[in-house]
Amino acid sequence: MASSKVTFRIQRFDPEKDEAPRDQDFQLELEPGITILKALNKIQAELDPTLALRYSCGSAICGSCAMKVNGHARLVCKTQVSDCVKDGVLRVGPMGNLRVLKDLVVDMEPFWDSLDKVKPYLAPDPAQAAPEKERLQSPEEFLRIDPSTTCILCGACYSDCNVLEVDKSFVGPASLAKAHRFIFDSRDAETTERLRKISEKTGVWDCTHCGECSTRCPTEAKPLERIEEIRVKAMTEGHHGNAGARHVLGFRETVGRRGLLDENYLPARSVGFFNIPGLLSIIPVGLRMMKRRKNPPLRPHSIDKVDEVKKTFARFEELRK
């Protein structure tokens, strides 16, 4: 294959000189099969030694080289230039949701801090004597945490998380995947406490399910899937005292009764029937919708043959008990 000409449009920012980030174009003649990291190295070596970027292993293991390519976070060491060129141009920028230190280098401190919030280390039962060698797990037990142990802490999920864009207090996808790693660890003795804490505000129920984290994750950690597993476990173990869990219960109740969602019932169920300020807060939107005849029918709809679905919900409710 012949070499090709690519324009790298790189976001530059030097806080000592620039007031705002700006784009700079670099033209490169590239051989086929080159990664974006190699191309950036080439730019740094041959065109502009002041370009700042962070990288180390070049093998998708260390997790240092996450940055935005065409607007989405990726490890540039495992991304081919040829997969990302659009109309001859490839855009590179720093990760999102983190302060830019210079060009493509961001301050990772808030990311590390977010991990601390989930107690990212094993908490074995203190009543049990420490084993002579290591604490053993069966292969089956390990399989439960296998995906979440593959996280390389690159921050790609943190960069593209939609909730973090509007709220930096959200614990974030990487931390939730890390929490999963200990919640599901057979050797950990603090599962209940971990689930209780993660069910609070800024925790597992603040995720919108946007799917960015798993889409950007370069490993099998896939935070959204781990978040879903944490939620299932939190529900199963009875951590129901929050709006997220009540929303799930409301869903189960109305779909189990009618086969469809009752949109009049669910909001009140989610905020809590005895939560007066919460109930008052949903009145304006309700009235507004009624005024426009946009409100759901007051007599909620049921599907035909609803008994088939009722049976399923009833049967699994019995199994739960």
Partner: protein
């Protein structure tokens, strides 16, 4: 062309204008629809957080119902579509799990998901089966001069392996559709972002801020209206817009149309039949109801 129409919950509840518009648009296009009045909620990813197998059973049952009719499914909600595709991938990709779900289903309704049904969204069917060229021929009222910002909804592009978009990271399907209707598509930064609807009850502040960012971004890019294939996005962006205005500190006045409403308008369905009056932010100008 004939499809089993899966309505989902919102088109039967707070978004009835969507169901009406989708039916009217299909009627104009000669697409026959059989409404699946016996299909249950897709679970919206929420039932699965309580009991994953129950969620998969609901969807396997829906697929089985369509298979019994020998029809493919048309969705009119991006969330239903995404959840269906995820469920279908899970079932089709794991024969043992599929057998288990079918065995459970047999106990409650004697139905079986065989694996022959195709599930797609209204706009994907227009693009892939009907064809944009043929659609253009049917446009009698081109939406000239209207700048439309498409808002895809999370499930349209994520996870990419369950997406029907050609390039989920930078899609142009809705923009192409908007262009075919005679309107001008407007690209803006937030078009693939989350509207925040799933956390409107758990964290209203964040939810409204997400919606606010999306509308501001579309407005700044020059959009007159936004159009979405997801009625959940529609609800957050439209019904909560007064709260969103306070959140972002400006009056946005951004009408949020359903994609089928836009299609129906271009096909000549009278505005009065599309229930535009029920929107919290009613469109103005040529689209005024």
């Amino acid at each position: 062309m004939k499809y089993a129409l899966y309505t989902g919950c919102v088109a039967k509840g707070a978004g009835r204008e969507l169901l009406v518009s989708a039916k009217l648009a299909c009627e104009k296009l000669g697409i026959e629809l059989v409404e699946m009045t016996d299909a249950a909620c897709c679970g919206a990813g929420v039932i699965g957080e309580d009991n994953p197998i129950v969620a998969d059973m609901l969807n396997a049952r829906t697929f089985a119902l369509a298979e019994e009719q020998g029809l493919d499914i048309m969705n009119i909600c991006t969330t239903c579509q995404g959840v269906h595709r995820k469920a279908q991938r899970k079932l089709d990709g794991d024969a043992d799990y599929k057998a288990r779900v079918n065995a459970e289903l047999a106990k409650d309704c004697g139905r079986e998901y065989k694996g022959s049904v195709t599930v797609r969204h209204f706009y994907e069917i227009l693009l892939q089966d009907y064809g944009l060229e043929k659609l253009k021929e049917k446009v009698v009222q081109p939406l000239e001069g209207i700048k439309v910002g498409a808002f895809y909804g999370c499930y349209a592009s994520r996870p990419p392996e369950a997406s029907d978009l050609e390039d989920p990271d930078d899609p142009d399907e809705l923009e192409k559709l908007i262009e075919a209707l005679g309107a001008t598509p407007v690209e803006y930064d937030e078009r693939l972002k989350c509207c925040g609807f799933p956390i409107i009850m758990a964290n209203k502040k964040n939810s409204l801020q997400l919606s606010g960012n999306a509308i501001v971004s579309a407005k700044d890019a020059g959009a007159d209206i936004m159009a979405t294939p997801c009625p959940l996005c529609h609800l957050n962006l439209d019904a909560y817009q007064p709260e969103i205005n306070s959140r972002v500190g400006q009056r946005l006045d951004m009408p949020i149309l359903h994609i089928p409403q836009l299609v129906a308008l271009a096909l000549g369905v009278p505005k009065s039949e599309l229930r535009l009056k029920t929107h919290i932010v009613r469109p103005t100008g040529t689209l005024a109801p």
